[in-house]
């Protein structure tokens, strides 16, 4: 039995978003995400972090061991801060540890199968399930409009065709099928997989639109990173002090950049750490920088860029900020001089940030594969296409193609054996 998760509250902006998790692996996954388990059925505040240590949210966590849970299985509830970035991040973390997004009605179905739901007064419950199903169906396809449906249906159609050819080769060996069929199928799988991968990559922008941009502020200690964060956010989010190494962990604040939600992360200064805690902070800072969509590399005017900062500047989507412009000193080449004290350069920095943000996440509506659920389904399909490409026997390849089709079927609806056979008989003259 898989461990499944889903958002229990309506998708979209809200103060709180409740994520549910259910299945045999719930305990392990919750521990990985939130650390120590709270007492059963008691809410506790936990810091949720991704497997790589990135902090995802501070959330109320409930551990609901089976059988006395909604589904009858080991379960958990995560009361997250509302907002697409957090929800998407937690979803990705759960998916990364092996859970999968729930199918419509799946929580309730499990509850019923495990004898947890009394349906004597069932009509109301069923209405709820219809609503849940409809909401998930809307979530799966409706919101994205016809584009995603058409895209996935086209993929599923091509995949059905490939599977039909593969099946024809298995069922009708001596029917005089074209000799090149086997190679054609193998080639076409590769083409389809490449297209799907390209689309996933291209639509990362779409995911950014939904999940929010990640902006990391990095630089040497006492370069003024926390002050910059506060200035950009317009409030005191990070503790600022003249002492180097004050920010030992990652501090986050949310802003809008060109209408896009963004998470601004202030990090520990990059230097040889004085103690273990600071070393951990540096490690996290580098990690955050590597994963960020945009990096603000901060260097005080007049300072000589250190190796770590130079390395940052080398990557794309890095904006080099020469801080403390009010103090004076030469501005490094290509850097934007900013003073948080006088406000000098701040509008220009903001403009530059918005420009990069718009480039990274075009709000054209062309991005179709934006939701984690869609991306998970397509990634799953791609994984099986990969299996199909390396399968050593035709029946294994057919099985892998069938699994890939089922994965896409989570977005397009199930494709049964009959539909595949229809294609076989439409395409090939079978029958001796």
């Amino acid at each position: 039995m898989d461990t499944i998760f889903a958002l229990a509250t309506a998708p979209g902006r809200a103060a709180i978003a409740v994520m549910r998790l259910s299945g045999p692996e719930s305990r392990r996954m919750l521990e990985a995400l939130a650390g120590r388990l709270p007492a059963p059925r008691r809410a506790a505040l936990r810091r949720l972090s991704a497997p790589d240590g990135t902090v995802l949210d501070e959330a109320l966590v409930l551990w609901l061991p089976g059988p006395a849970s909604y589904t009858g299985e080991d379960s958990a509830e995560l009361h997250l801060h509302g907002g697409a970035a957090v929800v998407a991040g937690v979803g990705e973390a759960l998916a990364g540890s092996g859970a999968r997004p729930a199918e419509p009605g799946e929580f309730t179905r499990r509850a019923v199968l495990n004898g947890r739901m009394d349906l004597t007064a069932a009509e109301g419950v069923i209405d709820l399930i219809e609503a849940e199903t409809a909401a998930q169906a809307r979530q799966a396809l409706g919101l994205a409009g016809g584009g995603l449906t058409a895209l996935c249906a086209a993929w599923a159609g091509r995949l059905t065709g490939l599977l039909a050819r593969q099946e024809a080769l298995i069922e009708f060996e001596d029917e005089g099928l074209p000799d090149a069929l086997e190679d054609e199928v193998a080639r076409a799988i590769g083409v389809l997989a490449a297209e799907m991968t390209a689309r996933l990559t291209a639509d990362e922008g779409g995911e950014r639109v939904r999940a929010g941009l990640d902006v990391a502020i990095l630089g040497a200690p006492n370069a003024g990173k926390s002050s910059l964060l506060n200035a950009l956010v317009g409030r005191e989010a990070a503790i600022v002090s003249a002492r180097a190494g004050t920010t030992r962990d990652v501090v986050e604040a949310r802003i809008l950049l060109a209408g896009l939600p963004a998470v601004l992360a202030d990090t520990a200064g990059l230097r040889e750490a004085g103690d273990e805690i600071e070393a951990e902070g540096v490690r996290r800072a580098l990690h955050r920088g590597a994963a960020a969509d945009i990096v603000l590399a901060v260097l005080p005017c007049g300072a000589t860029p250190d190796a770590a900062t130079l390395a940052l500047v080398a990557r794309r989507d890095c904006i080099l900020v020469a801080s403390k412009a009010d103090i004076g000193g030469p501005v490094p080449e290509g850097a934007l001089a900013v003073s948080v004290r006088t406000g000098e350069g701040l509008p220009a920095l903001r403009e530059k940030l918005e420009e990069v943000a718009s480039r990274l996440a075009p709000v054209s509506g062309a991005a179709l594969l934006a939701r984690p659920r869609h991306r998970a389904a397509v990634r799953d399909a791609l994984r099986w296409l990969g299996e199909a490409m390396v399968a050593s026997l035709p029946e294994m390849r057919a099985d892998a193609l069938r699994e890939a089709l089922q994965a896409l079927g989570r977005l397009t609806g199930k494709v049964g054996a009959e539909a595949i056979l229809d294609r076989v008989f439409a395409e090939f003259c079978i029958g001796k």
Partner: protein
């Protein structure tokens, strides 16, 4: 009161023969009623048994100690393992049989079956008891034969009508009368009836074929038997031929389409897509320049007065003169004489959704239907149904109420019956491996391991097979357990000449066996006990190793499916009374009456919410509802 049997089987085709033998093996006093004793076990169409999917069914029938595999081995004159170049899961054993030898083999096996009486006679009427169920069969001679359960295997005999060009004549198989009385009796039961169509090619005089000008196709040497119980194939083997239609053939057919019953509207029933007539192929695949024809001898040389050849690939209902012109246009057949013209046959079948998974008619207790009458095609599909109907009829006659079913997850026969009773048919149903979700598990090579144990529970497996099976199953289980338990480090494996990634992770023997590079003598040297395994056990081990990684990845899905398959929907469930089901869902469920939650999920159009409501209802039925549990 007349005679009384536990089970009466009407019809002596492949379904009837298996049903009668299975019921009798289960201990039921059984009567097989057939209108011609000498035609018991007749192969009415193609003289071949098995193939991809079909061969799987034959092995499953055999695993339950049925007749078909043994009869085919006794009569086989050309054996071929299809898909030999592919993996074991999709390899399908196939045999062409000598028609007369096959009949003799089936008749011999039936005669030596204890508890079984075989009589010539026609069922003309059905008598129903106080519960509306079957009580007796009334024969053409006016005899009333009481029965605890009745299996009807009417084939294409119900309102069968032959089309040969403009000619139309009522009939069952060639030369057999349509069963009028039985048809009327079944019609009186008011079961849902639909019309289907199938066809057969002209038969040729083998002496008039130019064999020298035709590509020869020999069988496998050594032949692979269809039955697990067969030690060796005794018959001499024949060679088949392959030819093909020529452009001239297609021109002749195109010029005659205005006289083709499938295009003039004379034939209404849906034909099988995988077995189209030659006129259908020429029209639908107009760009193909040739269509293959396999020339299959129907008997051993010298055993028939006239050697008959079955030209596989040119089923047709074109008029006689067109058939003659078509044959004369084909390379190697220019002088070939037609012994009997091809024809199409339209017939009634009963909508199998009216059946329980036991193949018992839901509305008529103790009446079982099996074979072509349920909308299937093929000997193998008929045999599998006959076998299961016979087992269930015997069980029912003995007072049993639980259906004896095979799940989709354990047998092609289970896939077959489940497809029939939950989906119904839109064309004559043929088994294909693509229909089985768990194809890598359901192999022809492990049919016995999958099913013979079940057959022993049901009492349909004789002592000889039981003993062989137990020994084999134990050996395989032990070997598998050992191969899963025994491990070696990559370094040790490399030292033994078995190259694997040097990642330091120990491999089980089963994992090692799955590696293409780790085969051959080095494997036996590293694991000497493998040498002591019998070839059959060794093959099972290798096949399990081959598919293990795939099967592991599908394990969760498999378990979930199996769980839902085992959640039974009781016969008496009133779908209309289930709270929370929409009217549409009620109607769909009432029409299909799925037997399990898994089957309900396969009913077209059923929503997840409906499944939840249904599951809730089943749960509540199984144990008293716990108030406030949610």
């Amino acid at each position: 009161m007349g005679r009384m049997f536990d089970v009466v089987v009407v019809g002596g085709g492949h379904a009837g023969a298996e049903a009668a033998a299975a019921a009798a093996r289960c201990g039921a006093r059984t009567l097989l009623l057939t209108h011609r004793l000498d035609r018991l076990g007749e192969m009415s169409c193609n003289p071949a048994i098995g193939g991809v999917g079909k061969g799987h069914l034959v092995r499953e029938v055999d695993a339950l100690d049925g007749l078909m595999g043994r009869a085919a081995d006794a009569a086989g004159i050309h054996f071929k393992l299809l898909n030999r170049s592919k993996g074991p899961a999709v390899r399908g054993p196939r045999a062409q049989a000598d028609r007369a030898l096959y009949r003799a083999a089936v008749q011999g096996l039936l005669r030596e079956t204890p508890n079984l009486s075989i009589e010539e006679g026609v069922a003309e009427g059905l008598e129903r008891g106080p519960d509306n169920g079957i009580a007796a069969v009334l024969t053409g001679e006016g005899e009333r034969i009481g029965c605890g359960a009745l299996v009807v295997t009417a084939g294409t005999f119900l309102r069968g009508e032959i089309h040969l060009g403009p000619e139309r004549l009522p009939a069952g198989r060639h030369g057999d009368p349509a069963s009028i009385g039985l048809a009327l009796a079944l019609a009186a039961l008011d079961l849902p009836v639909r019309r289907l169509k199938t066809g057969t090619p002209p038969r040729l005089d083998g002496r008039t074929i130019d064999w020298a000008g035709i590509e020869a196709q020999p069988g496998d040497d050594p032949p692979e038997p269809l039955s697990w119980m067969t030690e060796r194939i005794a018959n001499p083997q024949v060679v088949c031929g392959i030819t093909a239609t020529a452009p001239g053939t297609h021109a002749i057919i195109r010029a005659s389409l205005d006289r083709a019953p499938i295009y003039t509207g004379q034939i209404q029933g849906a034909g099988p897509r995988y077995c189209p007539s030659i006129e259908d192929k020429v029209v639908r695949f107009a760009d193909r320049e040739r269509h293959q024809i396999f020339l299959e001898p129907e008997g051993l040389p010298g055993t028939e007065d006239i050697p008959t050849v079955y030209p596989n690939g040119i089923s047709t209902s074109l008029p006689r003169d067109v058939q003659e012109a078509v044959i004369a246009s084909i390379p190697g057949l220019r002088r070939a004489r037609i012994l009997r013209h091809g024809y199409a046959i339209e017939y009634d079948h009963l909508d199998p959704r009216a059946l329980r998974p036991s193949l018992e008619v839901r509305a008529v207790p103790r009446l079982f239907l099996a074979g072509q009458v349920n909308g299937t095609t093929g000997y193998e599909e008929a045999a599998a149904q006959g076998l299961l109907a016979g087992i269930n009829a015997a069980h029912r006659a003995a007072g049993g109420t639980e259906a004896r079913v095979l799940l989709r997850t354990e047998a092609y026969a289970g896939v077959l019956v489940d497809d029939l009773v939950t989906q119904g048919v839109t064309e004559p149903y043929r088994m294909l491996t693509a229909r089985a979700e768990h194809r890598l598990r359901l192999r022809a090579d492990n049919a016995g391991l999958r099913l013979t144990g079940r057959g022993l529970e049901w009492g349909c497996v004789g002592p000889e097979r039981a003993a062989r099976h137990r020994a084999f199953a134990t050996a395989v289980t032990e070997a598998l357990a050992r191969a899963r338990a025994e491990t070696a480090t990559p370094a040790a494996l490399a030292a033994a000449g078995l190259p694997v990634n040097q990642d330091g992770i120990p491999r089980t023997l089963l994992e090692v066996m799955a590696l293409p590079a780790a085969q051959g003598p080095a494997l036996d040297q590293a694991f000497p006990w493998l040498r002591d395994l019998s070839p059959g056990v060794r093959t099972q081990l290798e096949t399990e190793a081959l598919y293990a990684p795939y099967l592991a990845r599908q394990a969760a899905e498999f378990a979930a499916l199996e769980r839902e398959e085992r959640l039974r929907i009781p016969e008496e469930v009133d779908f209309a009374a289930i709270a929370g089901l929409s009217t549409e869902m009620r109607q769909r469920l009432c029409a299909a009456r799925p037997a399990t939650l898994g089957a309900a999920g396969r009913v077209p159009g059923i929503t997840p919410a409906a499944l939840v409501a249904l599951a809730g209802h089943l749960r509540r039925g199984a144990s008293p509802a716990r108030a406030g549990a949610a």
